[in-house]
Point group: D2
Chain length 161, copies 4
């Protein structure tokens, strides 16, 4: 059974509320989902996953420093190469339109691309990944579920399924 | 009297609704505001302005192609140099969280920085410029007014006022 | 036989010099490559391709306005959906370090992600796609060949090959 | 005498080599320059400075995690407001064209804009700030000197000088 690792941390609880529907969307496609705080992720966890998703609160237009440290200090083991070709994606929570949530999301995607991951955009929903502004609305939670499903299907497609 | 040129175009009318409060915010500070479609802007207009603001609908994570053409084909006259040191800023309208509106805004800011303009962020409101998601709410219209005021004060500060 | 469409335009000839090695890298993997100026691309060309690559000169931190117009005016036909799930990628030429070539590349990638394309980063070479600064060096031409090969292999992998 | 704080860290020594010419460019304009590792910066240092410059190695398309932590954990004291209206800027070192050095620079600029700093682009040189690819060349060192001078002049202009 393929599996996706969700690396996430929350500031005011809004990013955390996006996680259950993401997990639901993934598991509904027959892919396992594991959720980890960045401090608890080891290089073996990254290597073992078929997909890696970053969920971050908006921190001045970029991911939380703990997530950045994970990539600077842990994901670099064996670099370049160990994460190449896996599926990737990101979601972010911010306070309001213009808060930097999209930049945070793109900052996460740049991290993943740099390691050789495969990212798919979404023409139907939030294009680069789900974004919550304040408390996630029902529409945002549904977008999280849909994104989880898309990420799981990408994992299966990349596995030749 | 210093003046600010607002270069803007609209797709569904939401960007257009952001313009009047931006103008109000500028003129309330004693700075003149002139609004122009990108096709109507000549290099002399750009040179004459003390500040240049771009207002764009979200078009696939970047500014409308007519605005891009203005910078590629018109603003390039005399480049590098003629726009250096002027105040700059941007606002954008998109459909929803994750629509690419922040990317569009940043794409506009990159254009302006490349020409040597001076950009100020905002720690209090939308950090890189006002963003409307769908029909601009009262809070967004107020953010537009506040941004207009900030841009006008930046023009005056840069003039040594 | 799967095929990749390369949409490209050149300013001083440096982007144009990146095209032949990109084509070589693609065809060496048994994938067809077709090169088109943005003005000559119709929606049927975009739909028919299994992969879409954008090659742009650096134009103020973004893609050439003709490429932007193609996406704003032509690629939008039938949007959202017709380009979803295809492979994507980008390359760019600029004048020197800090010229905006990486921003141009990312601007192209945002366009493609917005349409639902699949982008893979490269941990071994230029991470987001090949970048030439001035006349492309032998190392840059080799990076173009390698990127062409990676894009072709992504097309085949996405086809379940 | 106005002063600029340079927050910097180095990985392979290339970012460190950019610091002396930046300092020279600043002091030649009659502005003081102070250089600090991110771990040694207190909120009082940020408040006391008239300008804040970030110099970072390229770390997966973003600033080093220690710089990110400084903004997430230290610069946030009293936020929003204490850094508003100061001059800002950034420089970065990477390995080669396409290494992510421009993204790193822009990531730093987004941090600074979010705090309300004032950023000026450069139409003549590297547009968003100096970038070294590998060992800084004489041209890059000269660009660092020029950027230092520009940042110092921006500090003086913002002070009404």
């Amino acid at each position: 059974m393929p599996s996706i690792l969700i690396i996430t941390t929350s500031l005011r609880g809004n990013t955390a509320k996006m996680v259950p529907p993401v997990v639901e969307g993934i598991t509904a496609e027959g892919v396992a989902a594991r959720v980890c705080e960045p401090d608890a992720v080891a290089i073996a966890d990254l290597r073992a996953a078929d997909g890696i998703i970053i969920g971050s609160p908006t921190r001045f237009g970029g991911v939380d420093w703990r997530i950045k440290r994970l990539f600077d200090e842990v994901a670099i083991q064996g670099y370049p190469g160990p994460l190449e070709g896996k599926a990737g994606g990101a979601f972010a929570a911010g306070s309001r339109a213009g808060s930097g949530a999209e930049l945070t999301l793109l900052n996460a995607i740049h991290l993943l691309l740099n390691h050789g991951l495969v990212i798919q955009g979404d023409p139907y929903g939030p294009h680069y990944g789900p974004v919550a502004l304040g408390e996630p609305s029902a529409a945002v939670l549904e977008a999280c579920r849909a994104a989880g499903g898309r990420w799981a299907r990408l994992v299966k497609r990349l596995a030749g399924g």
